[in-house]
Symmetry: none
Subunit: 231 residues, 2 copies
DNA sequence: AGCTAACCTAAAGAATACCTAAAGAATGGC
DNA sequence: GCCATTCTTTAGGTATTCTTTAGGTTAGCT
């Protein structure tokens, strides 16, 4: 079983190192960065399963970083803050944080939250399920090749699944039908790239949680399509 | 969608023109130069998405030009040569060329290489080189193709987005409507350049943070327009 | 102030891109 | 070899976006 990877973003070195120590003791793989800019790089390169983010950073606002992290990853995000004002709590959660811990906190509490969030994201507990992707009401399991909305399994065809997986693995990135076609059908495939369009259309119908619910796959007219994490 | 711009550097006029002809037929925007010195200028001014470079040039060695081009741009570089010696091939790729075609070549092969390299560049390049552009209350994300003012997303059309992106990427530089037209619509496009003007007008309305707020896009009477970073 | 040239913008027509349903082609299981 | 499923192509309808036009506005000059 692969160790869950956790990214810690905190400018206060002592606190960051303390958190790291506890996480390591629990058996996680940890990386620590001390500012927002390197955080974004680390999120891309390290591909963490969970992120612990301090709201007070020197170079950028934590919420700002949060928004930008959300565009890079779907890993659960745990906010850390000195302020326990309600306003911040609400704001933090709406911009994409999954949980919120206020300083001062007990290490035990933090560990519990980490564990809970990893479990909810279905990482760490089961074998090889660290590959599970989830967003909103949608859960994709590349290993068992299944997709569910609100825990109801969907019957996707092979191409539909590939297409969805690719888009979810690159959230908020726009791809033209040509790009998608060559990416999924092979570099040298020739054929009508409009076939991508048909699959997207069918896919949308299937993954739609409810009529009128915002589309997961957004059309960017004149450019292409993207899986958006801001509905 | 913006036409990809391709810079062709070859001293043999007939060959250069033949390549140009085929590229134009594929829908690319093309500029041709016949020697190494003007190539460097063109690379800076034209900002091509891909460069085709003949290894045998009158005034400078192609590999030499290649090295210097690499300092100016990250666009994929396609080497062209009569010699199909292995040594050259290896050397060409190590100094920064992305692909290598030996003369005589079929136009189809060259077009296929061009296409493949452009695609590869767009896929790989997006994740790291493109950054979030921000100025004042305006934020532009080229990857997700979104623009926001004060964190409120704007609904821009494809052309509006292209235009804004270009201006923001060249801050404080004045461009005539002709220049903008040829840049965004393609080198050889014909049509009324006043259409640019209409897009600028629509754009201003959309990106305006508040009534009476200074315009991001300034008119330079008799000259053109610029995106100004001093409001 | 009046004139002119340059610029702006609203609006209408033309062009384009997109969506969807449905039919035909390919694939894979029995 | 046949049937069921999935994939691809096609085509028509629709909505959006682009371009053009034309009249109004502004800025700069004499």
């Amino acid at each position: 079983m692969q160790k869950p990877r956790i990214l810690v973003i905190d400018d206060e070195v002592e606190i960051a190192n303390l958190i790291e120590k506890y996480l390591l003791r629990e058996g996680y793989s940890v990386r620590v960065v001390y500012n927002g800019n390197t955080a974004l790089e680390a999120a891309q390169e390290y591909e963490p399963h969970l992120i612990i983010l301090d709201i007070l950073l020197p170079d950028a606002n934590g919420i700002d970083i949060c928004i930008r992290l959300r565009q890079l990853t779907t890993a659960p995000l745990l906010f850390l803050s000195c302020k326990d004002e309600e306003a911040d709590k609400v704001l933090g959660l709406t911009v994409g944080a999954d949980d919120y811990v206020t300083k001062p906190f007990s290490p035990g509490e933090l560990m519990a939250r980490v564990k809970a969030n990893l479990r909810r994201a279905q990482i760490g507990g089961q074998s090889r399920s660290d590959e599970l992707l989830r967003f909103d009401r949608l859960v994709i399991n590349p290993i068992s090749h299944t997709v569910s909305v609100d825990d109801v399994n969907l019957e996707l065809t092979a191409k539909e699944f590939e297409l969805l997986l690719f888009l979810v693995q690159h959230p908020n990135q726009v791809f033209s039908t040509e790009h998608l076609f060559h990416r999924l059908w092979g570099e040298h495939s020739l054929g009508d790239t409009r076939t991508v369009l048909v699959h997207i259309s069918n896919l949308r119908k299937k993954i739609q949680p409810a009529p009128g619910y915002p589309e997961y796959i957004a059309t960017v007219r004149g450019i292409g399509y993207k899986f958006r994490t801001q509905l």
